[in-house]
Symmetry: C2
């Protein structure tokens, strides 16, 4: 099992926590020099906060743990391709590398609608690895929305 | 004095609070149906948080006050053109209208580098009014960076 597979599994575990709370199941972890320093999942409904995406919460936690707003030597793993807000936050935080699972054709700001994390005129670019455990990351979302439709 | 002028004055007052704390002086307010429901200023250094921009903090406060992640019927005033993270957050929050002061040629995601708040494929677009009290909004930043250079 390679590192990306393992750490994406941790992000998937976070996504399952979101699922249990009735939140769109998206999870993220931040890995700093090989150690997980932050774990988070989408809490938009619970927190009633438009910024409470898994990536934003994970970056906030990582900056608390590491003691500064620059989250250096770190990789962020997230189950879904980040939206523009989260892609922008990765650049702001100076994240080295983004690893994500499923694509988001509706709001993805890494490859689907645009590529904000490697925008040449911004002062930082993020390495990107997509498609890690893509099917599992996508399936948990499909399962969530199917359940939501069945309820209605 | 028109409303935009007045509310931008309140955002400028927030920017001055940031200045006093040694933070890059950017301020924001959220106005919901004519009332200020949130005030915030950049706290990136103080909070040691890459997401602690004035706009993000103001949106978080507005969602607490209004009780949901959708910040409807609201205008966000900010002294500087938002970065990609903050522009994305405005779309996520479903803000009706963005009013800003100075342009940000280095990271502005409304007119300088791109226009994220009116990106056709995203599920919400934000009305934009730029250049309100532009000189004052720009001057406080110039004054801050001049002081920083003099110190060095």
């Amino acid at each position: 099992m390679d590192n990306h597979h393992f750490f994406m599994g941790e992000a998937l575990a976070e996504a399952r926590k979101a699922f249990e709370k009735g939140e769109v199941p998206i999870g993220a972890v931040v890995v700093h020099r090989g150690d997980i320093v932050a774990r988070a999942h989408n809490l938009r409904e619970t927190a009633k906060d438009p910024t409470a995406h898994a990536e934003i919460l994970a970056l906030q936690e990582a900056s608390r743990v590491l003691g500064g707003w620059r989250i250096l030597d770190s990789v962020l793993y997230v189950t879904l391709e980040p939206c523009p807000m989260c892609a922008g936050a990765l650049v702001m935080a100076r994240i080295d590398c983004l690893v994500y699972g499923a694509k988001d054709p509706k709001a993805g700001a890494v490859e689907s609608l645009m590529n904000l994390v490697q925008f040449p005129k911004l002062n930082h670019q993020v390495e990107v690895i997509g498609g890690v455990r893509e099917t599992e990351c996508s399936n948990i979302l499909k399962q969530f929305f199917r359940k939501l439709r069945d309820k209605k």
